[in-house]
Every structure is written in C-alpha cells, then in structure tokens.
C-alpha cells in the first residue's frame, strides 16, 4: 500500500482517537460494570422484609392487586426467583403519559404481596438506581441522562470510534504480521506504548467492531426505522411489527379468569425444554392486545435482550402470540438478529462469558487510555545532552491532565458512588439524586485537580484516590457486617459478594498502578509531562 494512504489514515486515527478517547474510556469502564448490572443492583439493595407468596397463590395475588390498583393492568411483573433488588413476588412501575421510553429513572415503583388474611398488601418503594445510573453513564458516554440528544451524541462518538478502528488497522497493516503479539518493554517508551496499544486493538478488534456498530445502531435505530418506513416500507412498518392484531375489538376479559402462572410456565417450558424462566411480564391486560411475556434464558443459546428472551402468550388461552424472541428455538433469521444484541450485551455462554466481556471492556478502556498516552509520548520534547530541560508543549500538557482527570476521576467517582449506596442510605432524602452528586462531584474535582496540579503531580494522588475508593466498596460491606448499628447491610448472596471481591481486586490493581506510576514520576525521564520533579540543577544528571 502506498505510504501516502498510511499517512492520511494516521491523521484520521489521531484525530478520531483524540476526540473520542476519553468519552469511550467512560463508556467502556461503565460498560464493564454494566455487564454485572444485576449483581450491582443486588449489592446495593437494602434488605426489606418481603412476605413470600408461593407461586400457587399468585392468581389470588394478581386478582386482588388488580382490583385494588387497576392501573397495574397496564403492565406488571411476576418474579419467579426473588432477589435482593426484586424481593417482592409482584411489582410494577407506573409511568407518566408520553414519557420517553429510554427514561428508565422516573416513575413510581410498587410491589404487592398477600398478608396473613390473604389481602393484597401494596407498597410503594424507591429501589436503588445505582446500577441504572452506571448503565446510563455507559449508554451516553458519561452524560447524566439518557435523552435523544445525548444518545445522538453517543452515536457520533461511536461512528468516530468505528473510523478510528478502521484507520488504526490500516496504519498497522504494513507491520501487522511482523509485530503480532509484540510488547517490547525498554528504553523506547513510544515503542512500548505503541505495542501496548496495538496488542489490545488488533487482537480484540472483532469485539470493538461489534461494539462500534451496535452502539451506532442503538443511538439511531428510531431515526433509521422512521426514514425507512417513509421511503422504503411505504408507511407499513407498524403493521410489519404487529402482525397478530385482532380483527375486531374483543370484549374486556376478567383478569380473574387468566390461566395460573404455573400453567403459563408449563406452556413456555413445553416449547423449549432448555428454557429457564425468570419472570412473567403481563402487558395491557385491559387492552385488545393483552399478553404475558415469559422471560428467561437458555444456557445453551444466546438471548436477544439484556434481560434474556421471552415467549409471548395469551394470558387467558395460553396461545402462543410470538416465539420470535424465545432463546433456543429461534429460526436462523431471528438468531442472526438476536446475535447482534447478544454480542453487545454478553447474553450468551452464561457467567464465564460475562467475565470475559468484563475484562475485554476493561482492556478496551485501557486501549483508549494508552492511545492518549501514546499521543503525548509521540509529541514529547526530548532533552539533548548538555542542554537545559525543554518545556513540554502546551497541548500535550493539557491532554495529559485531561486524560488522567477524566479517566481516573471516572473510576474514583463510580467507586465512591457505589459505596455511597450504603453510607447515605437513610441519611438523605433522595439517595438516587445523591448518586449523581457523588459521581459528578468526584469526577469534576479530579478533573480540576489534574489541571491545577498538572498531570505529573496529579496522577499518583488520583490513582490512590481511585484505589481507596474502590477498596471502600468491600470495606463498607465488611463494616456493615461487623457493626450492624451503623444501619448499613451486607448482602451475602454470591452475586453481591462477587461485587465486593471484584472491587477488592480492582482496588489492589489500582494500588499497584499507583505505586508503579509513583516510581515513574519520581525516577522517570524529566523531559516528560509525567515528571513530578521540580527542575533542580542537581537532579539533571540523574536520568
């Protein structure tokens, strides 16, 4: 290939990388945690005393709840396996009219159980939105709300990310085979950062291509469907998606006559023996298109959505309304479509694959961080023998500050806002708002500190902050367990303890990074934005 092309694509790679690297770092770091969204939600959920309703008694629970709260007929959920974050058998969210589908935060959460006399006991709760908050940071590259404009901005970031991937590969093509697996440590720091960056970028390229394309689709699918409906489907798209529309409006049916959940589960199970149901979602019971979605997963198959897949049944007759999303029995076309989602959400292969995605996403965050380090290292002004220490370029100093401020600030902010779920519980009126305050407070303070002190002097304290913040997650749990009087809690399910163990490992990794970085800013080259040393004549001979 002509070297001219390489030069052009190197420029493309540099600019797309610089423009999006830090946003992508946040998206990938928060995304890695979102792989374990459910364990995080379980870790953060305060224990409540929920009356258990046996599955056999759920028809009475549903009928009595609907009689007392007709609004629940619009949609409610029956949980088959109660967890810390969904302890009640029956729960639902009532949302405002005309609310954005992507707005997952507002709305009133209710749950219902039966008391000893068999009466419906409905209570409103404010479940922790910690896990959802981290997911939102992931979905809209660190912005606070999942709104249309924010998602479109994330779409632009994802498109530039795709451009960065392709251009990066083109730049690397001439040395791709020769340097495969190379990670050369040594005096040549630029070489080392380049290798460290390339090894991740090239080897996990398929993962990143999937993420880039799906992220652009998730940002713009509404717009794409609308345009295609107008120009390619002649406005018939709504019909295409709702085929089983009843011809005439049926008479409203009595929810008390619905098939019991046990029977519905048997119907679902009969369709696919490997299917493991987790919940039943009742939708529009008062409307003409009433249905119940039996959600679940199949360990051998991939699942089309983050929470699994479903079969849609008629709640009265048990007739199958749609099995397009039923894991394990999808046809080739639907399996292909589902795999686009599964490959983004890691909803295949169970927990082992979730761990792989967690680590690949962290490696992705490292890819963007190291990309910025490489940019800075490439523009370093070196000290010549016998000459005075040169000042580093302003742009490299600013990018270095921004990189450590944004990336390490994001890690520290997320860790502290996780710990805050226990510390602030019961002490503040709106804990969910406080998750925002804590995260953005730490994030912007870190950023300001990094610019004020300069990257070389800010990076080590920031890494220690991130390390201690992350260690505070398991320490909080330990303290809650040791001193119950504090009003905190220690959830002991494997999922919740997994969060503590992972945070402990992460905290130690950050400590290791802090110590290694401290060595570098103290002993490394002085002609670098990473040097924390004051320029003293006596030191100059050392490096």
């Amino acid at each position: 290939m002509r070297s001219d092309y390489i030069r052009i694509y190197k420029t493309v790679h540099t600019w797309t990388g610089i423009l999006t690297g830090m946003a992508l770092f946040i998206a990938f770091y928060a995304g890695a945690l979102t792989v374990f969204k459910e364990p995080l939600a379980r870790w953060a959920a305060a224990p409540v005393a929920a009356l258990e309703v046996p599955l056999a008694e759920t028809p009475a629970l549903i009928a009595k709840t609907l009689a007392a709260h007709p609004g629940a007929a619009k949609g409610f959920q029956l949980n088959l396996k109660p967890t810390e974050d969904e302890p009640a058998r029956l729960s639902w969210v009532e949302r405002e009219e005309g609310q954005d589908d992507h707005d997952t935060l507002s709305g009133h959460h209710y749950s219902a159980t039966l008391d000893a006399e068999g009466n419906a006991l409905v209570s409103e709760s404010q479940p922790s939105q910690l896990a959802e908050f981290i997911d939102i940071l992931h979905r809209v590259v660190g912005l606070p709300f999942d709104t249309d404009p924010n998602r479109w901005l994330m779409g632009v970031v994802a498109a530039l990310y795709a451009l960065a991937l392709v251009s990066g590969v083109i730049v690397l093509l001439p040395t791709l085979v020769k340097d495969f697996f190379a990670l050369r440590l040594g005096k040549n720091l630029k070489r080392m950062w380049l290798d460290a960056h390339n090894v991740v970028g090239i080897i996990s390229l398929p993962f990143h291509i999937v993420m880039a394309i799906t992220a652009v689709v998730f940002a713009y699918h509404d717009g794409l469907y609308a345009l295609q409906d107008k120009f390619l489907h002649n406005g018939r798209l709504a019909n295409a998606f709702n085929q089983q529309r009843p011809a005439a409006k049926p008479a409203p049916r009595d929810p008390a006559d619905m098939l019991p959940p046990v029977t519905l589960l048997e119907r679902a199970q009969a369709l696919s023996p490997g299917f493991e149901p987790s919940s039943l979602q009742y939708v529009n019971l008062a409307g003409p298109r009433a249905m119940v979605r039996v959600w679940g997963t199949d360990p051998a198959a991939l699942a089309p959505r983050a929470m699994g897949g479903f079969v849609a049944l008629d709640p009265w007759s048990g007739k199958v309304l749609s099995r397009d999303f039923l894991p394990g029995t999808q046809d080739a076309a639907n399996t292909t479509l589902s795999s686009f989602f599964a490959l983004h959400f890691a909803t295949f292969g169970g927990t082992p694959v979730r761990w792989m995605y967690f680590l690949l996403a962290l490696a992705g965050a490292w890819l963007f961080y190291s990309g910025n380090l490489l940019w800075i290292e490439s523009r370093r002004k070196k000290q010549r023998q016998g000459e005075a220490l040169p000042g580093q370029r302003l742009d490299t100093r600013l990018l270095a500050s921004a990189t450590v401020g944004v990336c390490i600030g994001c890690i520290a902010g997320i860790s502290l806002t996780i710990a805050a779920a226990k510390w602030l519980h019961g002490h503040v009126a709106d804990l969910n708002a406080w998750h925002w305050y804590v995260y953005y407070g730490v994030f912007f303070a870190s950023l300001a500190w990094a610019f004020w002190r300069g990257a070389g002097r800010a990076v080590v304290p920031l890494l220690w902050l991130a390390a201690l913040s992350t260690c505070s997650i398991p320490l909080t749990t330990l303290l809650a367990w040791a001193v119950p009087g504090l009003g905190m809690w220690a959830n002991t399910s494997l999922a919740a303890l997994g969060v503590d163990a992972t945070a402990l490992a992460g905290g130690f990794a950050l400590m290791w990074a802090a110590r290694a970085t401290a060595r570098r800013v103290r002993l490394g080259a002085e002609d670098s934005v990473w040097s924390a040393r004051k320029i003293l004549p006596s030191c100059q001979g050392l490096s």
Partner: protein
C-alpha cells in the same frame, strides 16, 4: 454443562499458549517453540475446544464463546509475558 464448557475453555487456552509460544515476540520462555508444529498443535487444540463447547452450546454460541475467549487470552498473554520476561531479566 460446566464440565464441557470448562474443558472447552481449557483446551482453547492450551491451544492459545501453543500458538503464542511459537511467536518470535513471546516472552514466556527463553526461546520460542518451533513455529509450524506448535501452530499446528495449537490449531488442533482450538478445533477440539470448539467440539467440546459444541457439546453443551448451540453451534453459533460455541463459536461466539470460543472467539470471545481467544480474544481475551491473546490480549492477556503478551502482557503476562512482559511481566514474566521483566522479572527474569532482573
């Protein structure tokens, strides 16, 4: 289920190590393995891994799991090798 999955992942790990050790850039061993036999053995292990995964997973899922695992392992091996190589050169 976990037995086949685990053996599939271990076979793939062994195959990845064989392939990685054949690279001139590997830092795990004093000397790289002979390229052709090691890569051939690695490829055979990966095929065996796919077959093992296919015992408990739908074939498309088995391919996805294998690719995901390979990406992770091949990303980590050079980093671990650099750590090992650095310790030994001290």
């Amino acid at each position: 289920m976990p037995g086949w999955l685990l053996s599939g992942l271990l076979l793939a790990l062994a195959g990845s190590l064989a392939i990685h050790f054949a690279s001139p850039h590997q830092r795990w061993r004093p000397r790289a393995l002979a390229a052709h036999p090691a890569r051939l053995a690695g490829a055979a292990l990966l095929v065996a891994a796919l077959i093992a995964l296919g015992q408990v997973l739908h074939s498309v899922v088995a391919v996805f799991v294998l690719l995901t695992w390979l990406m992770l392992v091949f990303v980590l091996l050079p980093y671990l090798g650099a750590l090992i190589g650095r310790k030994e050169s001290r």
